[in-house]
């Protein structure tokens, strides 16, 4: 059985993604659209810089809503970029390369790009046309691009099917997708993707819908294909375990941004971003000695139409500090969490004291809670909550709590949105990295 294949990455850039943004206009309710009101944008991909090297396997890892699939689709021009560029360095004759800006291609030019960049989809049950035979489906790319037709088609389809393990091919050619098992369908999808002999294969969670015992087989197939066909992979996944095995380089994505990127070994040996650490800790491992982790990030990935201020991860981050961008919505979460620990009577009392939490829903750096008359009691409540758990990261981001005539004013520390910066062997977007020189004594490398 195959162990980790030898890395054949050449260091030469194949696809360059620069400051890429893919924003979707949100379609609000009927009334809002009629009135022409601004309904907001979802920043699916929000400023991503990556270069894909020839021959490498690049992993895009993140939860759903992290923008990893949109990024993959944008690389093929299936999602339109709203800003930035994607440049594909097409291999021409005699070692020459031709630059093609995917994000600007249209029509026939864009379609012709598909002979070089191909995609494998997550759900094999949905990726094949239910009313097309396997032979027609796998052969269609050749027909579309005028590479083969009529008599020539069949042997080439058969070869592609056998290449992906659907052998003997005759047994599968006349079948419909419904007659195949999940793993076989995924093989057919891969056959359709490689029949054009592409350079880059974007694989969007190619094994996550499959059974455990089939996942390894499909992954093995992808390893073999890479070796035999000299493919470059973009492997999109939420599963760090398969990424660790399969990828040369990993980009961890969160809410449309890359928060950590680097060689697989570095990322796993010394994860730097708190999000990466959390993902690693959360993987359920079939190891009887590993228990359910205790210190997991709370909550879920936020709404990309209303991302948190500062670092997007700060509301869930167990290591967050004052500069992370604390704001009003974090206070709401804190109060709500506090109330899940209270008896109903004291909850109702405190809730009445604080008043409606809806005023915390718009991101603000200064908020007022309660009313003027109760300001002392509101302040008391906040102090009590603070005493319950003084290590709660939010408090580090509170500059001042003061009683005003209208209630209690909470002022948050000015935060900033960290950029991707080199730290150790990787690049991280976190205020804690690279470690400030002033905090740690200087150590020569």
């Amino acid at each position: 059985m195959q162990t980790k294949r030898d890395v054949t990455a050449t260091g030469e850039s194949l696809v360059d993604i620069r400051d890429l943004e893919v924003h979707f206009e949100l379609r609000g309710g009927m009334l809002k659209r009629l009135l022409g009101m601004d309904t907001g944008t979802v920043k699916a991909v929000d400023g991503v810089n990556i270069s894909l090297k020839r021959g490498e396997v690049l992993g895009l890892v993140g939860e759903s809503g992290s923008g990893k699939t949109t990024l993959g689709r944008a690389m093929l021009g299936l999602a339109r970029s709203t800003k930035g560029s994607i440049t594909y360095h097409e291999r021409g004759g005699e070692g020459q390369t031709r630059e093609r800006v995917v994000s600007q291609l249209k029509g026939a030019d864009l379609r012709s790009l598909r002979t070089d960049l191909q995609m494998v989809f997550q759900d094999p049950n949905a990726a094949l046309n239910p009313s097309m035979t396997i032979e027609a489906a796998v052969g269609h790319p050749l027909k579309i691009h005028g590479i083969a037709k009529g008599e020539d088609l069949r042997p080439r389809v058969a070869a592609a099917l056998e290449r992906v393990g659907l052998a003997p091919a005759e047994q599968f050619m006349s079948k419909y997708p419904a007659d195949l098992s999940g793993g076989q369908k995924q093989r057919a999808v891969i056959a359709r993707a490689i029949i054009l002999d592409p350079e880059v294969l974007v694989a969007d969670e190619p094994v996550s819908m499959l059974d455990m015992s089939v996942r390894a087989k499909i992954l093995q197939l992808m390893v073999d294909l890479k070796k035999d066909l000299g493919l470059t992979y973009v492997y999109i996944t939420h599963d760090l375990a398969s990424a660790k095995f399969f990828c040369d380089r990993i980009a961890i994505m969160y809410l449309g941004r890359v928060v950590e990127i680097g060689p697989t070994e570095e990322i796993f040996a010394d994860p730097k971003h708190p999000y990466t650490k959390a993902l690693l800790k959360a993987i359920p491992e079939p190891d009887p000695n590993k228990m359910v982790p205790r210190d997991l990030p709370r909550g879920e990935i936020p709404d990309a139409a209303k991302p948190p201020l500062g670092c997007s991860f700060h509301p869930r981050c167990p290591e967050a500090v004052a500069e992370c961008g604390w704001e009003s919505r974090d206070l709401r979460v804190l109060l709500e969490e506090h109330w899940t620990r209270q008896e109903t009577t004291s909850y109702e009392e405190e809730q009445a004291l604080v008043g409606s939490l809806d005023r915390l829903d718009d991101p603000q750096k200064t908020v007022t809670l309660g009313s003027g008359a109760d300001s002392a009691r509101v302040r008391g409540l906040l102090d009590r909550i603070r005493q319950e758990n003084p290590s709660e990261p939010l408090w580090s981001g509170v500059d001042e709590i003061s009683e005003t005539g209208d209630g209690v004013e909470v002022r948050f520390h000015q935060g900033f949105d960290p950029e991707l910066r080199p730290s150790g062997g990787v690049e991280v977007a976190c205020v804690l990295h690279p470690k400030p020189v002033t905090v740690e004594p200087f150590r020569p490398e």
Binding site: M1, M212, V214, R215, S242, P284, R294, L296, Q351
Partner: protein, 358 residues
């Protein structure tokens, strides 16, 4: 009938099984003949225990979960003995089974959104659930009990009057768990409760399920295809293959020293952080209309012997306390003294095609 489990002996004896299934069979009708989705499965769960049921899709694990709660589709036949606190559930009339479901037997499904009514507030969901089983319950009592269970699930009381669509995926699954637990059932089936969720949220839900025993003393049957979840959340594990439990025992023992070749190969084929090479089980799970003769796993088993193809193995207790249904394990532990040399010779088989898979 109710006196039966209110009897002091049953109530005080913590070691008496909450649910005891013996030789359960669930068959479906099909054009080609009966589909033996579950074929002779036995297990029991004690109070507060979590039993993980693991297997590939189509092995019958979800069918068992539904069968235990009487939620089988029309056309399915079920027999065997299924005792809940000593009472035979299969003998109960439909109406009494309906009353038990929810109140004493709960279910948590995979897709929470499809199980919540989008036009009903969370409070109304709780009112409906509680009123179905306790007709005279007052509004304040409903709120008190609902908020209490929501709190344990980490859902703030401020959200009590929200609609399902105002919650995120993980919150909805917590809601489903809260709804299943508000009646404090003694036994809950959770069918792939985290499959639709992201890793971090999945870990949160597992932690909640894990805490059920201390908060509610609920016995839980956790059905999943993810071995990692079983290892982290379960006390015991049952491995299913082709409608049968092939290995059942303490989760620690099963994972550290699997006795059945299927369990071992399944563990080896799982991709984890420590994976350095890919392993897989050749072939595909069998057709449940005509399962292979002898041991159902023999066509894919690396350890198959001649006997495996002809005689069905019997479940035996192994020295480490697990129960295993495998000739090779029997042989290794002296549980099969009457096997001849021909019986134990390696089985000669046809090559399995690469693409013959699930």
């Amino acid at each position: 009938m109710t006196e039966l489990y209110d009897a002091p002996v049953a109530a005080r004896d913590d070691n008496a099984p909450v649910i005891d299934a013996q030789d359960i069979r669930i068959w479906y009708g099909s054009e080609r003949g009966p589909v033996k989705a579950v074929d002779g499965v036995s297990f029991s769960l004690r109070k507060g225990e979590i039993l993980g049921l693991v297997g590939e899709s189509g092995c019958g694990k979800s069918t068992i979960g539904r069968g235990l709660l009487g939620l089988l589709p029309p056309g399915a036949e079920m027999d065997g003995a299924l005792r809940f606190k000593g009472e035979d559930l299969l003998a109960l009339p439909k109406k009494e089974m309906f009353a038990k479901r929810g109140a004493e037997l709960g279910m948590i499904f995979q897709e929470p959104l499809t199980r919540l009514n989008p036009l009903m507030r969370i409070s109304e969901h709780f009112e409906e659930t509680l009123r179905t089983h306790e007709k005279s319950i007052g509004k304040e009592e409903i709120q008190r009990r609902a908020l209490e269970v929501l709190r344990l699930m980490g859902i703030p009381p401020t959200r009590y009057r929200s609609y399902p669509h105002e919650f995120s995926g993980g919150m909805r699954q917590r809601l489903m768990i809260a709804l299943a637990l508000v009646l404090r059932p003694a036994f809950v089936v959770a069918d792939e409760p985290t499959t639709a969720l992201d890793v971090l949220v999945e870990a949160q839900i597992i932690r909640i399920l894990h805490s059920l025993r201390s908060e509610f003393e609920t016995s839980l049957l956790l059905i999943t295809h993810n071995l990692g979840i079983i290892a982290e959340a379960c006390d015991r594990v049952a491995v299913m293959y082709a409608g049968e439990i092939v290995e059942i025992g303490d989760a620690r023992e099963v994972f550290s020293d699997p006795q059945h070749p299927y369990t071992r190969e399944l563990l080896r084929s799982t991709i984890s952080l420590s994976t350095t090479g890919l392993n897989f089980i050749p072939g595909a799970p069998p057709d449940l209309v005509n399962p292979p003769t002898g041991c159902h796993f023999h066509p894919r088993c690396p350890d198959a012997m001649n006997i495996c193809a002809t005689r069905h193995p019997v479940q035996h207790a192994m020295p480490n306390g697990t129960r295993v249904q495998c000739w090779a394990a029997d042989l290794a532990h002296g549980r099969a003294p009457d096997l001849t040399e021909d019986d134990t010779a390696p089985l000669v088989r046809e090559e399995i095609s690469v693409a013959d898979e699930a």
